[in-house]
Amino acid sequence: MDYSNFIYLKEELSLIAVIVILLLYDIFGSKKSLNYFQPVACLLVGVHLLLTCCPARAALAIFGDTPVADQVNAGVYPLLSGMYNLYPLGSIVKSILAIGTLIVFLQARNWLEGERTIIRRGEFYLITLFTLLGMYFMIAAGNFLLFYLGLELASIPMATLVAFDKFRDRSAEAGAKYILTAIFASGLSLYGISLIYGTTGTLYFTDIPAALTGSALQVMAFVFFFTGLAFKLSLVPFHQWTPDVYEGAPTSVTAYLSVISKGAAAFVLMVILGKVFGPLVEQWQAILFWVIIATITVANLFALRQQNMKRFFAYSSISQAGYIMLGVISGSTLGMASLVYYVLVYMFSNLAAFGVISIIEHRSGKETIDDYNGLYSTNPRLSVVMMIALFSLAGIPPFAGFFSKFFVFAAAVEEGYYWLVFIALLNTVISLYYYLRVVKSMFINKNESAIAGFRSDGYTRLGLVACSAGILLLGLLSVVYGEIHHYSLGW
């Protein structure tokens, strides 16, 4: 190992650099210069994103290390004695998460510039980036230790984000619920990991499969471990914190939580299930089968009668997690590609929706579905963005959500999960109902006292435009999925 290998850690290192710069800026920047915190943060994340997106191959070529580059391109390349795994798909997912984070940052302005949060705005960006770093570690982990550290790094700061509006008791309540449940879940997960360690004698991902025998203890260990990630993904029955936290947390945080955190967890879950628990495939497929059904159905049933938009989207995102799991359960290349693609599309759709919710909440203070009545007559553009997002979430063409849903279904069907897909498909009908409820209130319902028209700020608009473009183009431009699929071969 020589230091040139650090170039392989470019995602994490550049993120750490960003964090450090921002930290220093936050500490030493003058009060006036801090007004530019958001643009600077966005810019830095953008730079980081460029680095992340820049394929490892190209980066390596600069340093003249082509043999390794080929190896990386071919599949997983272990670094730091196998503690850290370098693989192209991981980089793709990381850049997806970074894009999402960037959009969240763009949309956070309205909230952060409020009088109570303005002095703490730097913290938001910093803490968010810390959690992002944690997710990077989770994704890159080749050992349960790094995985665990990444998981905790991604969830403990998140609690502070949830409780960020410290003068709102709902925010505090949500924070408490989040942190306590998170610790409990990670406790269970740790207990599972400890048992795995006990039965296999190793924590390295590459060594574990050979030592798995499928004994009852190992299965129990697996289930306990699974709980930790299922909690983050908010799969039923580990989902109950989700609506409360989503509702209570500041909207930007909810957006982040519902998309980035969930996306990372889904990807990592699939990687670990496939790479580490491969020998237990029958067990985890059976578990996922029922968990998916429960997740989609229960979440949909709850979503049916929600009034609060954020709570509504909480349930929606639970059920979306169920659909994401369809990719996981297949365990195939198609499944992996579809999952990543789904996360990408889901991210754009959900962020668009939360962008609208956020700006409306901060401009008018309204956040129930009925408040949205007649929104189209006053804020047509926001309504259209919202509608696109909802249609994409519901899986209506030509929006990207249609394609992503199609692919996860295809992945599951390829493995023979006809009944599962059937149930999921029926659930899409229910989900369409509640998504249409929102569309209905915006477009069809009349309202004398509709939310007054307003002009949103440039950052938010940029974010919304980016999301809309993503929703519209991701499906029609097959190259995105093609690339993801290409790098998913053999994961």
């Binding site: 306590l180 009852a216 289930v223 039923v236 029955p237 709850f302 009668r305």
Partner: protein, 633 residues
């Protein structure tokens, strides 16, 4: 012979022109256009008839000519609908009849419909009807016939409902269409069956006498009758609908709501005999493949004829009397066909039936047009509003009388010859049937003269202004038709139209002729006794046979039966429950799913209690449950 196409096409063009551009024309111009077109068509028909009957005879048998035939729609390689023109004796005869009567009606309407709203529309419809009817008679195949059959039905519908602001007219048109549609269903199914087993629609092939065509249906039977019997009976059902055979006749009396010239054209002379024409067209098939159906036809014809004659005796609306009389006379034609044989002398019934069709068309059109002139004069259909009109309407009176004598079967008027031959054929077939028909003929004479006396003699009613004779455009057709009625009986019909297209020498059956004339004279005498002057005999008879009289004037309650079937059974008994089922059960199920989801959603909401510790418990229990399930199952 290609010009025969013009006969059919000209009225169509006239219809299109009047229909599209009629609004911009002066009413009179539109009338002239229609009439002139029809006149040309009539001229062409006469030329065709002359041409055909002089040159088509080869070896003593009339050939079938097909001057035009093209494929209109494919079903399979050998099954296709063609449109074309088939000329044979009956077709040519029908061309003459239709164009003649139609021309008369066109002419007559110039006067009768003068000043009516929608005059142009009226002529457009008349043209449409003429086109359809002509297309029907020259059909080369049964499907073409069906096509024009439907078109005729629609034109009839449109013309009955001509006075569309009058609710009775609308109801009558609806009824006419639906009843005939129902019959057409039978026709269609019959065609389906027939074509399925024979593989052809073509009349030429079907009537060629080639029994191998029907080999496919050999030995197949359903409910005791052979498949061919079913097919042909169903086809006859179509004919029965259009020709107002019992019990499908209910629409015809109501159809009198249309303008009177229309009744003359469609509901007396031409369209209503389409059923007869249909049976005559397929006669060889009936005779060879399903003689049992022919018996059925004879019986239906006889029953209809008798029934209508009885009902006609008590009607007071003059057009209804004529309508029932039409039904009755068509019954005669059906009986003629039903009792007929195919070859040579056996074919008397067929020939007689066609002959009667011809003569009846003339004198019945005359009667209707005469009735129109009367109505035109007194503005009422009711006999009670008439009486003593002979001096006001001399021409109408005379022509009407000619027609009455013709229909009553008094020599030398045309009706005598044709009816007498039908009676002869019937007696030959079955004396009982013959007796029934003779009785009916007597009734015919009776009710016709009842009508005649009640209109022209009897007690004169007071009118606000003196009724006056119709204008020339109306009387000319009357005189023309009366003249035809006078001489038509002497046409050597057997030379032209026979069942086997060969010559048939008519010789009168003197016994039958004498009897029937005697009956007719007695009936006329009775009518004279009852109705010549105002008399109390009819009333007394009516009270004596109270039940019969009431039943007859209510047309034996058949309309009520129909009303019951449509209103009570179809509307209330089927449709309402179906709609209810759709709304509550099918729709209800779909709504039920929605409600169920909402309910379910409501019932599980307590699960999300907001309690941190419950959440954690669920997580733990979930993990344990999954473990247990996976490990132990």
């Amino acid at each position: 012979m290609e010009y025969t196409l013009l006969i059919v096409l000209l009225p169509l063009l006239s219809f299109l022109f009047l229909g599209l551009a009629g609004k911009g024309l002066k009413p009179r111009v539109a009338g002239y256009i229609g009439t002139i077109v029809l006149a040309i068509a009539a001229g062409l028909s006469y030329i065709t008839a002359w041409h055909y009957f002089t040159t088509a005879k080869v070896d003593g048998v009339f050939e079938k000519w097909t001057p035009l035939n093209f494929r209109w729609l494919n079903f399979t390689e050998h099954l296709h609908i063609d449109l074309g023109i088939l000329l044979d004796p009956i077709a040519v005869m029908m061309l003459v009849v239709i164009t003649t009567v139609s021309l008369m009606v066109h002419l007559y309407s110039l006067g009768y419909m003068h000043g009516e709203r929608g005059f142009q529309r009226y002529y457009a419809f008349l043209s449409l009807f003429s086109f359809s009817m002509l297309g029907l008679v020259v059909a080369t195949n049964i499907f073409q016939m069906y096509i024009f059959w439907e078109l005729v039905g629609v034109s009839s519908y449109l013309l009955i409902g001509f006075y569309y602001t009058k609710p009775e007219a609308v109801a009558a048109s609806k009824k006419a269409f639906i009843v005939t549609r129902f019959a057409d269903l039978g026709f269609l199914i019959g065609i389906l069956l027939l074509s399925f087993y024979t593989g052809t629609f073509s009349f030429e092939r079907l009537t060629s006498g080639d029994t191998s065509l029907f080999a496919g249906a050999e030995g197949l039977s359903f409910m005791g009758c052979s498949v061919m019997s079913w097919a042909l009976a169903l086809i006859f059902m179509g004919g029965a609908g259009k020709s107002a055979m019992f019990p499908l006749h209910v629409w015809l009396p109501d159809a009198m709501e249309g303008p009177t010239p229309v009744s003359a054209l469609i509901h007396a002379a031409t369209m209503v005999v389409a059923g007869v024409y249909l049976v005559a067209r397929l006669f060889p098939v009936y005779y060879l493949e399903a003689p049992d159906v022919l018996v059925l036809i004879a019986i239906v014809g006889a029953v209809t004829s008798l029934y209508a004659a009885i009902v006609a005796c008590v009607q007071t609306d003059i057009k209804r009397v004529l309508a029932f009389s039409t039904i009755s006379q068509i019954g005669f034609m059906m009986v003629g066909l039903g009792v007929s044989g195919l070859e040579g002398h056996e074919g008397l019934g067929y020939m007689a039936s066609m002959f009667h069709l011809f003569t009846h068309a003339m004198f019945k059109a005359l009667l209707f047009l005469g009735a129109g002139a009367i109505i035109h004069a007194v503005h009422s259909n009711e006999m009670t509003r008439m009486g003593g009109l002979w001096k006001h309407l001399p021409i109408t009176h005379l022509t009407f009388l000619v027609a009455c004598l013709a229909i009553a079967g008094i020599p030398p008027f045309s009706g005598f010859f044709s009816k007498d031959e039908i009676l002869a054929a019937t007696f030959h077939f079955n004396p009982v049937l013959g007796a029934v028909m003779s009785f009916t003929a007597g009734l015919t004479a009776f009710y016709m003269f009842r009508l005649y006396y009640r209109i022209f003699w009897n007690k004169a009613t007071h009118h606000d202004h003196a009724p006056h004779e119709a204008p020339g455009s109306m009387t000319v057709p009357l005189i023309f038709l009366a003249a035809v009625t006078l001489v038509a009986g002497f046409i050597p019909f057997g030379k032209f139209v026979t069942s086997d297209s060969a010559d048939y020498i008519i010789h009168l059956d003197w016994v039958v002729a004498t009897i029937s004339v005697a009956i007719a004279v007695i009936a006329i005498g009775l009518a004279t006794l009852f109705y010549r002057k105002e008399s109390s005999i009819p009333d007394r008879l009516a009270t004596t046979f109270r039940g019969l009289h009431a039943a007859a004037s209510q047309r034996f309650y058949l309309d009520e039966v129909y009303l019951f079937i449509t209103k009570k059974i179809i509307f209330n008994g089927i449709s309402r429950p179906v709609a209810w089922f759709d709304h509550h059960v099918v729709d209800g199920t779909m709504n039920g799913f929605a409600t169920l989801s909402q309910r379910l959603s409501g019932s599980i909401r307590g699960f999300q209690s907001g309690q941190l510790q419950q959440y954690v418990m669920v997580i733990l229990l979930g993990a344990l449950l999954i473990t247990v399930l996976v490990v132990f199952i």
